[in-house]
């Protein structure tokens, strides 16, 4: 580990903590409903007319309040409609404009998989974008989902906050209004500015056909055909993909979507060309999730509670990034005959496999931690090539529920489920029945919270267990065996269920079994968790608010932040520790006695 690396990490978190307040306050103004309607923001003169026009065109009554069930139904209808739209665009892209490479229609199963993946904010990609998706598909089919799925997450987080803040009310707001305002006021303006900033760093934005370049050094390639014949050919040219990247890149990070314009994702020089663009991308992942904690504090009238939640997130983030950076900066124990002098001016200083030289170890470890803390899933290094412990960090981050800052909206409401759990377990110890910000936590709330928490072990462990039991379907496409193979399978299901979308690439998931099972995992991981979550919000909104006294369970103190952190770690660790012991932990221990997989 180097001072330079730590300075960048410190700068990163300092900026996030500084941006949380202005970002959060702005979102409060966008979403907080007063009797007189929404509060004023400086973008209103520009956006209010657009907003009104949209409502008029779609026939939405912005003043209609929805119960939690109506809110969920509206979201499901919206998601289903946009999902079908994306499916159709993929299927007919060969007849549509902006297809300079004349890419054919996407196969039905893949088109379906991709539509599900993008509408659940997962952005798991079973395809190579530059050889599969036309520019129009990327823009109209995929980038739009990056906005929508993020706006849906944001809307649900806001609805949950309203559930806590409201007193004896049955409704949580209007889904269409929250969706529209989240997109217009928050996602669009920041994405536009961010896209421009990215182009300044060299991220491309064009509709050109792919460029063919002549190789300075021709390559000889030997391939084995299906008939067993080997052919040797010399490659003299390279095709360089082009496209409207910057516009999609911005929302890919800001909306914690993570689906790359290119297969190499943020490791690709056209997506993420410089250390500065890399830094901005990491910042944009955490920007909204960090701000939402402040929004939470402001909307429930307890700003310090928001800070306590942010503190818990920051602690967990730090533990992750420290472990990951430390593990990746270790010399490889198998290379004991090689001079691995840890001098950073001369050497990489650790495990550089699968990492981009322009980012180095610190920024790769930080990116891997951040992208899995949140449900982003963009990568600037190959997680599969990390050391066992370095790879354990992204895996655990996802398994803990992606609540460390977390996805846009999803991170906050996931965190609030843990808050409810922490309050319920420890709340009794102050001699009162558990209450959270004046709302009594009762049987129904606990029931829904447990349903939410059950999804992760059920889907991740359940599917992974089935996969390892099927030698052909589950293990057949596994590149690595032993504990590393188990890590790859666990990672795939964790990533899909957690709507992360990053992968341990050693597993070829483009098989029927994995496409179907991962698709189901993405679906359940999104909607089966959103529904019980909003059920809690609907139930909380109807309750009275018990006034805050000296006898109230404190949710604003450092002690609470520590408690929340422990509950997340203990519940997450207890659930997944046995599986992880046979995966990354065993691999780490075996590595040090000379076994690799």
């Amino acid at each position: 580990m180097s001072l330079n690396g730590w300075l960048q990490i410190a700068l990163f978190i300092a900026l996030i903590l500084m941006l949380a307040k202005p970002m959060g306050s702005y979102m409060t103004r966008v979403f907080d409903l007063r009797d007189t309607g929404h509060r004023h923001t400086w973008l209103d003169p520009l956006l209010r007319p657009c907003e009104r026009l949209l409502y008029r065109l779609t026939g939405v009554d912005p003043d209609e309040e929805m119960r939690w069930t109506q809110y969920v139904i509206a979201m499901l209808v919206f998601t289903a409609a946009t999902l079908v739209l994306t499916y159709i665009i993929q299927r007919v892209q060969q007849w549509l404009p902006l297809n300079p490479q004349h890419l054919a229609a996407v196969a039905p199963d893949l088109a379906f998989n991709t539509a599900v993946s993008f509408s659940t904010n997962t952005n798991w990609q079973s395809y190579t974008p530059e050889t599969t998706m036309s520019y129009l598909t990327q823009m109209l089919g995929l980038a739009t989902h990056n906005f929508w799925s993020a706006a849906v997450g944001l809307a649900f987080a806001i609805a949950f906050i309203r559930g806590i803040a409201r007193r004896e009310m049955k409704t949580l707001g209007n889904f269409w209004v929250d969706l529209t305002r989240g997109t217009l006021w928050i996602l669009l303006p920041i994405s536009i500015v961010f896209a421009l900033a990215l182009t300044s760093q060299g991220v491309i934005q064009n509709f050109h056909p792919y460029t063919t370049a002549t190789l300075v050094q021709p390559q000889t390639v030997t391939t084995t055909g299906a008939d067993g014949k080997t052919t040797t050919s010399t490659v003299t040219t390279q095709t360089i993909a082009q496209g409207p990247v910057a516009s999609q890149e911005a929302i890919k990070m800001l909306g914690t979507n993570g689906g790359g314009f290119f297969n190499a994702n943020s490791a690709h020089p056209f997506e993420n060309p410089t250390p500065l663009s890399n830094f901005l991308q990491m910042l944009s992942i955490f920007l909204i999730p960090a701000g939402l904690t402040v929004t939470l504090g402001q909307m429930v009238g307890s700003p310090r509670h928001g800070w306590a939640v942010l503190a818990a997130m920051t602690i967990l983030w730090f533990v992750g990034v420290f472990t990951c950076y430390w593990a990746e900066a270790q010399p490889n124990p198998l290379l004991h005959n090689v001079d691995q002098h840890n001098s950073y001016s001369l050497q990489s200083g650790g495990n550089m496999e699968g990492k981009e030289v322009r980012f180095g170890i610190a920024d790769s470890a930080l990116f891997a931690t951040v992208t899995t803390d949140a449900s982003c899933g963009a990568v600037n290094a190959m997680h599969d090539s990390f050391t066992p412990l370095g790879g354990l960090v992204p895996l655990i981050n996802i398994m803990l529920g992606e609540v460390i800052f977390g996805g846009v909206g999803a991170g906050l409401y996931g965190m609030l489920i843990f808050v409810i759990l922490a309050v319920f377990i420890a709340g009794l110890m102050v001699g009162r029945t558990p209450e959270y910000l004046g709302k009594k936590i009762e049987a129904y709330d606990v029931q829904m919270a447990m349903l939410y928490l059950l999804i992760f072990p059920l889907i991740i462990l359940g599917f992974a267990a089935v996969a390892v039991l099927m030698p052909h379907l589950g293990l057949g496409s596994l590149a690595n065996h032993g504990p590393h193979g188990l890590s790859e399978i666990l990672y795939a299901y964790a990533s899909a269920t957690g709507n992360n979308g990053s992968a341990f690439a050693g597993l070829n998931a483009n098989t029927h079994w994995y496409n179907y099972s991962l698709g189901v995992a993405m679906f359940i991981g999104r909607f089966m968790m959103m529904i019980p979550m909003l059920a809690i919000a609907g139930n909380l909104a109807g309750k009275k608010i018990v006034p805050d006294t000296a006898g109230t369970f404190p949710v604003t103190t450092p002690l609470f932040a520590a408690l929340l952190t422990s509950v997340i770690v203990i519940v997450g660790a207890l659930t997944f520790f046995p599986a992880l012991a046979l995966g990354p932990i065993l691999e780490h221990l075996l590595l040090h006695v000379g076994h690799t997989f």
Binding site: I425, L428, T433, A443, F553, L559, T575, L586
Partner: protein, 683 residues
């Protein structure tokens, strides 16, 4: 008295008789029908049955590792039995009490008064509500009822444990009598108010026995949490076998079930119902009967305590301390009128006026009977009392009441008298204005005496976030002065029953939970409205039915203890839940390396406790898991120690003791057990 009873309760925590009965009950509770109610322990029982079946099968086919498998199976059964034993222990104390109460329920002869007035002897079990019975000195009161005629001293020790007799009389707030108590002197006529099987004694027996025990709302919610955690761990263990097979290290059913049982929250799952029963039992030890566990939980949640000033904050009686005459009136005239008007006033205040007049002015108390006087009793409506004698019409009462009275007589209260009233009120005294024939004579200064130690208790309550509101019929100035002296947070002055009700509703509208005590029939609506309504046993039947608790000692200060007991119950639940979940970390470090160290010796790096071998490690974890239930039974029954402090301080203290303690304790415990079983060559 109640302290003596508590001491008895404490010493009998592990009474041999109760323990013997509990051991038998623990076996009876193994019935799956009973176990189903507790999802966590039911899983353990199913696990025990599975391992037992497998053990038998393995023995026949000569498979398995008999010594280890047998020990695991036995300890799994012990885990279930220990949990059952804890519950049976908690119930046992109640059962012993119920037995004692049943003795009081023995059949007696009731003397039923028929409509014609004839007296008919029938067994008490045939009495129905609205029957009227006559009870003579020395007889047992045959059922719950209301005294409609007469006054008697009654020995209620069968119910309250208090041996001093109490007075029960027709009318007023001391008219309720309880079946099974004994009339000591005089005779009373009682209208029976309950049918056989529904009497107070029946309810009390059912309550202490736990027969009607239903899970409280918080218990239900906690059970859902525990069931959810159990399912999560079930998933973790069930899926571990495929991963183990994949890794080339398949596990035996014994090991997998051991892991499962160690991970699921058996400690709290096994002790949860014992904690609830013990909480109710602690109330009974304090001579308080709660009609439901829900009320005990609500007591812990109380935000606002409504305390009657008289008897709770001040020692029951105010005393006359001074006569302040109006201008132009001598103090002797005032004292004489005051004494006259108080002769028939049997309240302590009335008596103190008579006494003060005698002491200061040597005015002798006259016999009412000789005076041919008409006594006008105090009524809540006029708020005055007085006397009509020899053409003199004397009234005494609150300043507003007398002022209104004077206006009726085309007169008014002199300004100087008002000033005096103000001065007395500010000083916390109660001014009682005396008027004769439409003329104000002066003011009697009644002094309230605040009980010792109340200020400190209110400070403690405040630290716990509980607001105390003093309820008093006094005027606002007097009330404010006493409130200040006693250190309550707020007061409700000149309170009529409706004001009390409105106050409760107002507090509840703000989301607060309100506790109050009451004894009179006019308290009944407020008692029913309050979240915790404690009726005094000496009170009317209506009050006792409206509230959700009855204090057998009729001590209104007990409300503070009731709140403490409620809080202690909830804290015990939370502490053991936290402890139970924190325990799992150590168990993982014992069992996971033991499971896989055979196939992958490198995993011994996780064996940070350096347990002797895989079998001893798993066995130690299972044994620890079973023994910790037994070890915590006293804590579950007694409740965690509780001192009033702020929630933040409580949380910090309990998180360190039960959270951090829960993480560390099993590391030590498992290691010690491992050393022991290694020394005994058990594994």
């Amino acid at each position: 008295m109640s302290t003596a009873r508590q001491a008895k309760g404490r010493s009998s925590l592990f009474d041999k008789k109760i323990m013997r009965r509990a051991s038998i009950d623990a076996l009876a509770k193994l019935s799956p029908k009973t176990m189903m109610k507790n999802p966590v322990m039911f899983v353990v029982e199913v696990g025990s049955v599975l391992t037992t079946a497998l053990l038998i099968a393995n023995t026949i086919t000569h498979h398995g590792h008999f010594r280890f498998d047998l020990q695991i199976t036995l300890w799994l059964w012990f885990t279930v039995l220990f949990a059952n034993f804890a519950e049976a222990m908690a119930e046992g104390r109640g059962k012993a009490q119920a037995d004692a109460l049943r003795l009081a329920k023995s059949e007696t002869i009731a003397y039923k008064v028929s409509k014609s007035g004839a007296i008919e002897e029938i067994p008490s079990s045939q009495l129905r509500a609205n029957d009227v019975v006559r009870v003579l000195a020395g007889q047992m009161i045959p059922g719950d009822g209301e005294v409609i005629e007469g006054v008697a001293s009654v020995d209620e020790s069968a119910i309250t444990g208090e041996s001093a007799p109490v007075i029960r009389e027709a009318g007023g707030d001391r008219s309720a009598v309880t079946g099974g108590t004994r009339v000591l002197s005089d005779q009373i006529t009682v209208r029976i108010t309950s049918n056989p099987g529904e009497t107070f004694l029946d309810r009390m027996i059912a309550l202490v026995e736990g027969a009607e025990r239903q899970k409280t709302p918080n218990e239900i919610a906690l059970n859902i949490l525990l069931a959810g955690l159990t399912i999560i761990f079930l998933l973790a263990v069930v899926t571990l076998q495929p991963f183990a097979v994949y890794s080339g290290a398949p596990q035996t059913v014994f090991v997998l079930i051991s892991l499962l049982v160690c991970l699921i929250p058996t400690t709290i799952g096994g002790l949860l119902s014992a904690i609830g029963i013990a909480g109710m039992d602690r109330l009974v030890q304090h001579n308080v009967l709660a009609t439901s566990g829900r009320a005990v939980e609500a007591a812990g949640d109380v935000n606002t305590l409504l305390l009657d000033k008289t008897g709770t904050i001040t020692i029951g009686n105010r005393e006359a301390s001074e006569f302040v005459p109006a201008p132009g009136i001598t103090d002797v005239v005032l004292a004489d009128a005051a004494q006259l008007s108080s002769l028939a006033d049997e309240t302590p205040e009335g008596r103190s006026i008579v006494v003060l007049a005698k002491q200061q002015y040597n005015l002798r108390g006259r016999e009412l009977a000789h005076l041919n006087a008409e006594f006008i009793p105090f009524s809540a409506l006029t708020r005055m009392s007085g006397i009509e004698v020899d053409g003199r019409s004397i009234r005494k009462g609150s300043v507003d009441a007398i002022a209104a009275y004077l206006v009726e007589h085309n007169s008014q209260l002199p300004g100087q008298v008002r000033d005096v009233v103000e001065v007395i009120s500010r000083a916390g005294g109660t001014p009682l204005v005396v008027a004769e024939n439409g003329r104000a004579l002066g003011v009697i200064h009644l002094k309230d005496i605040v009980k010792g130690g109340m200020k400190e208790r209110f400070d403690q309550l405040r630290a716990m976030g509980i607001r105390t509101i003093m309820i008093t019929g006094d005027n606002p100035l007097t009330a404010a002065a006493i409130a200040r002296e006693a250190g309550v947070d707020d007061f409700l002055a000149e309170a009529k029953p409706k004001d009390k009700m409105d106050l409760i509703k107002r507090e509840q509208a703000d989301g607060k939970l309100v506790a109050m005590t009451g004894d009179g029939t006019n308290d009944a609506p407020a008692l029913a409205q309050a979240d915790v309504g404690v009726a005094m046993n000496s009170g009317t039947q209506a009050a006792k039915e409206a509230g959700n608790m009855v204090d057998l000692d009729s001590n209104p200060t007990k409300l503070i203890e009731i709140v403490a007991i409620g809080k202690q119950l909830l804290m015990t639940r939370g502490a053991l839940t936290t402890f139970s979940i924190s325990n799992d970390i150590a168990k993982y470090f014992a069992i996971i390396p033991a499971m896989f160290a055979g196939a992958f010796p490198v995993l011994n790096a996780l064996n940070i406790m350096h347990l002797h071998n895989p079998e001893s490690a798993i066995l130690s974890a299972v044994i620890f898991n079973a023994l910790i239930i037994v070890a915590l039974i006293p804590l579950a029954l007694r409740g965690v120690s509780y001192r009033p402090m702020s929630a933040a301080a409580l949380l910090q203290r309990n998180l360190i003791v039960y959270g951090a303690g829960g993480i560390i304790a099993p590391f030590i415990g498992i290691k010690l057990i491992d050393m022991l079983i290694t020394a005994l060559h058990l594994a």
